[in-house]
């Protein structure tokens, strides 16, 4: 029995499947309806497919891209049946989701590529940055890593308190200078402390900001810049947190944050609702960044390492 099961946690796959239950049944019943009594893929099936993808927030242009590729394969292979369609659809979506970099492992047990390994967490307001950091801290700690948190969201009311509570839950230390402190100074001090204490992983929380506010985005670039004064490569990872219920605006968010701080990975939160987070497919392929984590519940253990095949299978599999 695994550690999690002993604690009463369900296995990873079960949680993910449970979280995606609603979206999966929706998808399947819709695709099912479209293909009843048909052995080949025709216009109507492709129309249904379009609806399925767009209602999953995949977006018009990515949807058209997927459909065009399927149409091409239909043309080539002539008689494509609907079970083949499902297989091809899965393949096409997996292909669009970028593979994770081997030099920046998402797994908590893996050896960190640097010491300290600095992870900066960014995103717009209300996507779940602080909660994600709390969960990441818990996982790294469980995996036996020395973790240090940096409370650089000094703007939102009580954000520092929120992160402090998470640091207590996870049993990891935190560097904080209270609300309204200079966030760049907090980030700098956290990395400095991590270096002198020999921490393995540093997690830097930042204030939520809308990506079209230039001043705030410049501030973010500065927070990133000062960390490299202590550890030249830091931050090694810049994680953009996206809310699964966000629609097409997530693409603009990803572009703007990439421009300001060059994001290296995505974390998709709140996947336990009915939202499908389909926009990550387009973002991952267009900006060439991997999805690293997904959040499927409120508990610390509900943050999971993203698995492309598992994600797409969970969307399409019957069992």
């Amino acid at each position: 029995m695994s550690f999690l099961e002993k604690l009463g946690f369900k296995k990873k796959e079960e949680r993910l499947k449970e979280g995606l239950e609603k979206s999966r049944t929706g998808l399947l019943s819709k695709l099912g309806k479209a293909v009843i009594g048909k052995d080949t893929v025709d216009e109507e099936v492709l129309d249904e497919l379009e609806e399925v993808l767009i209602t999953s927030d995949v977006g018009v242009s990515t949807t058209l891209k997927i459909i065009r590729r399927i149409e091409e394969r239909v043309k080539k292979d002539k008689y494509l049946n609907t079970s083949e369609l499902q297989r091809i659809l899965r393949e096409e979506i997996i292909a669009l989701l970028r593979e994770n970099d081997t030099d920046k492992p998402a797994e908590f047990e893996a050896a960190t590529p640097a010491k300290p390994h600095v992870i900066m967490v960014v995103g717009v307001n209300g996507v779940g940055k602080t909660t994600t950091i709390g969960k990441l801290a818990w996982h790294y700690k469980q995996a036996g890593k020395n973790v240090l948190l940096g409370a650089a969201d000094t703007f939102r009311a009580a954000a520092v308190n929120q992160l402090t509570i998470w640091s207590e839950r996870a049993g990891v230390p935190i560097i904080q200078q209270g609300q309204n402190a200079d966030p760049a100074a907090v980030a700098y001090d956290t990395v400095a402390a991590a270096k002198s204490r020999g921490a393995d992983v540093v997690l830097i929380d930042t204030a939520g900001r809308l990506h079209n506010k230039k001043g705030l985005m410049d501030e973010l670039s500065k927070i990133k810049r000062v960390m490299s004064k202590i550890v030249p490569e830091a931050p090694h990872e810049v994680l953009l947190v996206l809310d699964a219920s966000t629609g097409q605006n997530a693409m603009q968010q990803a572009k703007a944050f990439t421009e300001a701080v060059d994001i290296t990975g995505l974390a998709l939160t709140k996947l336990d609702g009915t939202a499908k987070g389909g926009i990550v497919i387009g973002i991952s392929s267009e900006l060439n960044v991997p999805v690293k984590y997904i959040g499927v519940g409120e508990q610390a253990a509900d943050l999971q390492v993203f698995d492309r095949v598992g994600f797409v299978n969970a969307l399409f599999d019957k069992s």
Binding site: T55, V60, V124, G126, R156, A157, A158, S245, Q248, Q252
Partner: protein, 445 residues
């Protein structure tokens, strides 16, 4: 993406201009592009399809004015309809006849409930109310502190208890508000997913315990296709009264607004921009429509169509006045144009000097309704030739419009005065122009 939409629309317009009616064929491309614009704006798939279909059916067989192409006209019809659907009736918060007024705030995690609660408290305080906040988000770490910090900035008290019991917090806060002369209680609840049965049961319990006068559903304007499911479930559980759209200071196109409006038919009562607790922004349906259709490009086309529209109508009208053909039908059109411009109070408020005096007087936005009813009760022949209206016709019109013969007479009198005045005015402006011409000729005043 939008350069694309714009150029596609432009080219469709070019090839199709000169046709006199909107047909399936000559707007097919425009319909497709509009639908795509809606989907790109996160309007729900089903809603976008229904909406474009409805508007298309409405547009088919409409006559096209000379200088407007079918595609342009269609775009304008879409824009008008969108504005209409988004607007509906503008509604304020409903206050209780016996205070305290209880306002319940609910929504998903991270939608901006707590920030909005702070803004609403500040807004109500500025209107002379004495609000109390209840911190019923007992789950998220430091949520209570967040509300307290915000409340401190605006000097509004917060009621909270040690125990993690949201229903009790709400109930006790109501008691506290009653015994401490707070006339408004705003209850901030925890963010919850609409599929979380336990949490949805809790918010329903809170509702039962405090019987709110107003329940506001807070939704992130960046929400995608799922907005429909969320709004529907929340509405099923707590039957909310209004919607608050947050984070509109971002660059999202906010199609969720249309989706929600379509699914639950509840008014959008506030929009929230930015993290500062400044006053809340009223909701403008036309701006939202522009935003959803994709700002600039589509809108400039619409505006162009609109201009040509109005110019043509204005010219026609002038001609009718000068040739003494201005009749009740034109009068009716004028009334409709005024109505299109918005509420009478807002219109009056735009006239310099007037707004101050009008601030405290109530202008009835329905003042034009009986006039319209009277005109609508006339036959086309009567509208074109008001002089044929005898006593029996007037009696029929009065009973048909639910007014009195006197009201009909008043309207006719007003109409003939207006007609006289218009005629004089056009004569004067013509004379003015002649004088101007003379001046130009002599080069001297």
């Amino acid at each position: 993406m939008f350069d694309d939409l714009s150029s596609k629309l432009q080219s469709t317009f070019k090839t199709l201009s000169g046709q006199s009616k909107i047909t399936e064929l000559n707007i097919a491309e425009a319909v497709r592009e509009i639908r795509r614009a809606l989907l790109d704006a996160d309007v729900n798939y089903e809603v976008a399809r229904e909406f474009t279909k409805k508007v298309k059916d409405q547009a088919l067989e409409q006559d096209v004015l000379t200088s407007v192409s079918p595609g342009q006209l269609f775009t304008k019809i879409v824009y008008d309809e969108l504005t209409q659907v988004l607007g509906g009736k503008q509604e304020e918060i409903r206050f209780a006849t016996t205070p305290p007024t209880v306002i319940l705030i609910a929504g998903l995690q991270g939608s901006g409930k707590t920030t909005f609660t702070g803004k609403l408290a500040k807004y109500l305080k500025s209107k002379g109310r004495n609000p109390l906040l209840a911190a019923a988000d007992v789950y998220r770490p430091a949520a209570v502190e967040q509300l307290k910090t915000l409340a401190e900035q605006i000097k509004v008290p917060v009621y909270s208890i040690e125990e993690k019991d949201a229903v009790r917090t709400a109930r006790e806060a109501l008691q506290f508000a009653r015994s401490n002369a707070h006339d408004v209680l705003i209850i901030d609840t925890a963010g919850r997913l609409h599929v979380d049965e336990k949490m949805m049961a809790e918010v329903s319990e809170i509702k039962k315990a405090v019987q709110p006068n107003e329940i506001l559903f807070v939704v992130d304007s960046m929400t995608g296709q799922d907005a429909v499911n969320t709004a529907r479930e929340f509405d099923k559980t707590i039957d909310f009264d209004g919607v608050v759209l947050t984070k509109l200071d971002g660059d999202t196109r906010g199609g969720a607004a249309l989706s929600i409006r379509n699914v639950v038919e509840k008014p959008i009562k506030f929009i929230s921009m930015g993290e500062k607790l400044d006053s809340l922004t009223p909701f403008f349906p036309d701006r939202m429509a522009q935003r959803i259709l994709g700002m600039g490009d589509v809108i400039s086309l619409v505006e162009k169509a609109q201009q040509e529209f109005d110019e043509k109508e204005a010219k026609q009208l002038q001609q009718r006045i000068t040739s003494d053909k201005f009749d009740l039908e034109d009068f009716h059109k004028q009334i409709n144009q005024i109505k299109k411009m918005g509420s009478l109070k807002d219109l009056a408020g735009m006239i310099p000097g007037v707004s101050q005096k009008l601030k405290d007087t109530e202008i009835d936005d329905n003042a034009l309704d009986p006039i319209e009813a009277i005109i609508n009760s006339m036959t086309p022949d009567e509208r074109r030739n008001p002089h044929i209206l005898n006593a029996s016709r007037k009696r029929r019109i009065a009973s048909g419009s639910g007014t009195s013969v006197r009201a009909v007479n008043d309207l006719l009198k007003q109409f003939s005065q207006m007609k006289k005045m218009m005629k004089t005015m056009t004569k004067m402006s013509k004379m003015g122009r002649a004088m101007q011409g003379l001046k130009n000729l002599t080069g001297r005043p």
